[in-house]
């Protein structure tokens, strides 16, 4: 079990009013900020459960936009996130869903499109105290929490790819805390999620990306 730090008790330092509805929402959107292409044209936030009911009063909407812009949970600009989004030409839409098909009462699906029409979606839950879980990527069930140094890798579902990934990490003396592998269909797209104890440097990611069966590697460090 992971030890609890004193800074999880006296902390997190955050923009209020709610660790789950504000800070947690921001962290989910920050994951999307790390995964998505730089030139996001439009984003749709679909809110479920308690998020759908109380998002305005908790500033969940502002926190989500702020997270997508890359702000962290201590950023005092979060309150003005809509203004910063307009300045950057980011179009955002909020939808509420009365579906009960969500894993946790505080859930949001974030769908982004870039200027070329490429689409990426994630679904995340705010599970309390600002902690989150990412439950879906592009409709596929996954899991990671963002608590560790996380690599999100998309690649062909073929022999040798995972060996290449772990080889790159072991060469740089990086210990894997958790590793999970998901695939859409046999022989097609696959996702590998690595959670490591140590920071992962750019050159590791560069070396990993050299393999032509790897589509892209994204570092998620909340």
């Amino acid at each position: 079990m992971k030890h609890m730090s004193v800074f999880e008790v006296i902390g997190p330092n955050m923009i209020g009013p709610s660790s789950s509805h504000t800070a947690g929402a921001l962290r989910i959107a920050r994951v999307m900020h790390k995964l998505a292409p730089q030139d996001i044209d439009k984003v749709t936030f679909i809110l479920y459960g308690s998020f759908a009911k109380t998002y305005k009063g908790h500033g969940t909407d502002k926190a989500l936009v702020a997270g997508l812009l890359g702000m962290d949970q201590e950023d005092e600009r979060i309150k003005e996130a809509f203004k910063y989004a307009s300045e950057k030409g980011l179009h955002y839409v909020f939808e509420t869903s009365d579906s009960t098909q969500y894993k946790h009462p505080n859930s949001v699906e974030i769908v982004v499109k870039d200027s070329r029409g490429n689409r990426l979606s994630i679904t995340g839950s705010s599970v309390g105290g600002g902690s989150i879980s990412i439950d879906k990527v592009n409709g596929m069930d996954v899991f990671f929490s963002g608590e560790y140094y996380t690599l999100f890798i998309t690649h062909d579902d073929q022999p040798g790819v995972v060996a290449h990934i772990t080889h790159c990490l072991s060469e740089h003396d990086i210990n894997i805390a958790f590793m999970r592998l998901y695939r859409e269909d046999k022989g097609k797209h696959a996702y590998t999620i690595i959670e490591a104890d140590e920071p992962i440097k750019e050159d590791v990611i560069g070396q990993m990306s050299m393999n032509e069966k790897i589509h892209y590697v994204k570092m998620i460090n909340l």
Binding site: V6, G11, N13, M14, G16, P17, G57, H58
Partner: protein, 290 residues
């Protein structure tokens, strides 16, 4: 090096002849491989955020997102400044500062969740009032935050500090216990006394429900933070006077958790019971959500 109960914490403090805050700093250094100075520096930053939040509430016009609170800190502070306080200077300031932090939090300002955003006023309220009254340094107050952190860590590990899980007794109750313990240490109390004061504070609010109007962290949360701050000072005062607490801290925490689990879901942050579902509470909720 780690401790997972109050019994182990007290043992550690007496074996090594150290305070609870020192035990917590050593735990942090050992388990998270950071040096002592960085840990203290990081905590000093947290204390600075707490102080700035209190200052903002006293100097700026704040209005919460839901519009239920704003401006309370100044009103209480001003009355005390005119020498009219019913409670006396320390308690009046603690109350004023505690409600102020909730104003900052609910208007999307920067606060320290200690242990949660909903209970974030208690520790700054108590700490700043005590610091001013006894002319203590920021360094001393920063160390005392590690003491508060130790209590919060024990409650989180062995029960919960989540209102959704165990009601306000878990949130404001934990914050109050944390502050009570820290005040005891600041006033020269022993580790046992710190835990006694924490037990008293938690016991005093056992059963307190979480029933936020419109589901927002505004009312009754803000005034419960004032209560949490005063409860911390009351508990420290009782303990420092030499009064022992009958039930050990670990058992008190376990009792709080049991009470929390037996609370109906309506009274655990769902806004489906208590003050939230009074006719006026419901009307306010309708106005805010539409």
């Amino acid at each position: 090096m780690d401790f997972i109960s109050a019994v182990e914490l007290i043992d550690k403090c007496s074996q090594e002849n150290i305070t609870i805050s020192e035990a917590m700093i050593r735990r942090e250094v050992t388990l998270f491989h950071i040096d002592r100075d960085s840990a203290i520096e990081r905590m000093a930053h947290s204390y600075d955020i707490m102080k700035r939040a209190v200052e903002r509430a006293l100097s700026e016009e704040l209005l919460s997102m839901g519009g239920l609170i704003g401006g309370e800190s100044k009103k209480i502070f001003d009355r005390n400044s005119k020498g009219k306080s019913v409670c006396g200077d320390i308690l009046s300031k603690a109350i004023s500062y505690a409600v102020g932090v909730l104003e900052v939090s609910s208007s999307m300002g920067l606060i320290v969740a200690a242990p949660t955003a909903g209970s974030s006023g208690v520790i700054p309220g108590v700490f700043l009032a005590i610091q001013e009254a006894f002319e203590l340094s920021d360094e001393t107050m920063t160390l005392a935050l590690f003491n508060a952190g130790a209590i919060g860590y024990l409650i989180t590990t062995n029960a919960t500090v989540s209102g959704a899980e165990a009601g306000c007794q878990a949130e404001v109750g934990a914050a109050s216990a944390m502050a009570a313990s820290a005040v005891c240490e600041l006033m020269g109390g022993t580790a046992e006394q710190c835990l006694d004061a924490a037990s008293t504070a938690l016991t005093n609010v056992l059963g307190l429900v979480c029933d936020p109007i419109a589901g927002l962290v505004e009312a009754p949360c803000q005034k419960r933070n004032a209560m949490g701050a005063s409860n911390a000072l009351i508990s420290a005062e009782i303990t420092l006077g030499g009064v022992r607490h009958i039930i050990p801290f670990d058992e008190t925490v376990e009792a709080m958790y049991r009470v929390g689990k037996s609370m109906p879901v309506e009274l655990r942050e769902t806004a489906m019971g208590g003050i939230a579902t009074t006719p006026t509470g419901c009307q306010l909720c309708k106005n805010i959500l539409n």
